[in-house]
Symmetry: C2
Subunit: 205 residues, 2 copies
DNA sequence: GCGCCGAAGTTATCAGTGTCAACAATGTAT
DNA sequence: ATACATTGTTGACACTGATAACTTCGGCGC
């Protein structure tokens, strides 16, 4: 039996292969404790090879988190309705897309908000991370201009929206939204409460 | 120079000493990656001693998380105003106490919501963890009875409150509430939006 | 008071990790 | 063809979680 085909000594695009392998493992290996050596093994190289492309493990984690922000922003852009007739019709698909992204990619989502060293390099002030927040900011700004949203500092309103959606995403990822505790449709209930808090109240509603 | 006084071979209360040492390190060592060996060293015993009191590292982490829930519930009970005149007056001190607990104990707070193996033993359905959620549930239930809160499924409303406060606590812990992004008083703004979403709207407010 | 057994300590070992140094195999530029 | 840089490799180190075997008592029964 012939030996398996072997990759030449120089991989050619190992940096991208490491990143893609890591993303794949984050998505598919449930409850995996991320290790650089395991990623290197899965990519078919030695344990020290990644150190030629990333200064250390944290640098790779930060890069993965950035890609997560990019993908989340794309998911939100795709979910945005074209002609919503109300704030509820506009915010609901975006919120559901956000939570779906988190629950479809729990390890990546946690990573986006947890690498401690990432804060040292100001990761969350990076444009790619801010872009997600800007989707919410833009929507609420336009709502205020249209007179459908309460006249309040829009950044405060965007923070409320972000905190609630971020919070419920994490609760969902952690399996905490059990029905005997939160009822049968916690996500919809939370979004409805958010919208009630943001929108100018209508009579008899 | 005399040798330092040495602890007798049998510690006498090592389980409690391990727990207290771990809690102390979680609070004081910024960005420390929790290790059982380091806790044992700090407690003055060998690296294998904790295994006589905890089956494994996760069991200790779960115990620490439970204590965190106990302390959070006590902090919320202490913050509860005695005669609030509005929902805002009632929910604000409790919310601020919740966020203060999280930002004063960031590593412990993260632990309370992240030990993956803890989910396997149903940690979050434990009475001690549920008690925190019950504080919110009870307050909203009484608000509905008093006619100050919108008539909605109360568990959904409690979930919205919990998600928002949990979310903003984590954003604060992670240092994401930077003013150029969220404005100058994001916490107050988020609580105000939450209250607007929960309370029955008053005319001309 | 003594002996025995179990609890709770210890030391040593194993398999894994992140990271670094030294070396090896090319790829590229001249 | 040669030299140098890039990008691989192997090996080592210090650390981790966990286990096994051994040691030191504490408690209990007689």
């Amino acid at each position: 039996m012939q030996a398996a085909p072997h990759r030449p000594y120089h991989h050619g695009d190992l940096r991208r292969a490491i990143i893609e392998t890591a993303l794949d493992m984050l998505r598919t290996e449930k409850d995996w404790q991320f290790t650089l050596r395991e990623v290197a093994r899965r990519a078919g190289v030695s344990h020290a090879a990644p150190y030629k492309h990333f200064p250390d493990k944290t640098a790779l984690l930060v890069e993965l988190a950035m890609i997560g922000f990019d993908r989340l922003r794309e998911a939100l852009a795709e979910a945005k309705p074209e002609a919503p007739r109300s704030l509820l019709e506009e915010i609901t698909p975006i919120s559901l897309a956000y939570v779906a992204f988190g629950t479809d990619n729990p390890a990546l989502y946690r990573l986006m908000f947890s690498p401690e060293e990432g804060r040292a390099v100001g990761m969350h002030l990076d444009q790619r991370a801010l872009a997600v927040f800007d989707v919410v900011l833009d929507m609420l700004g336009r709502g205020q201009a249209a007179g459908t949203i309460r006249k309040r500092p829009v950044r405060g309103q965007a923070t409320a929206a972000w905190a609630l959606i971020h919070g419920i995403t994490l609760l969902a990822i952690d399996g905490l939204l059990v029905p005997e505790k939160v009822g049968s449709a916690p996500l919809e209930a939370a979004i409805a409460t958010l919208v009630d808090g943001l929108a100018i109240p209508q009579p008899n509603t």
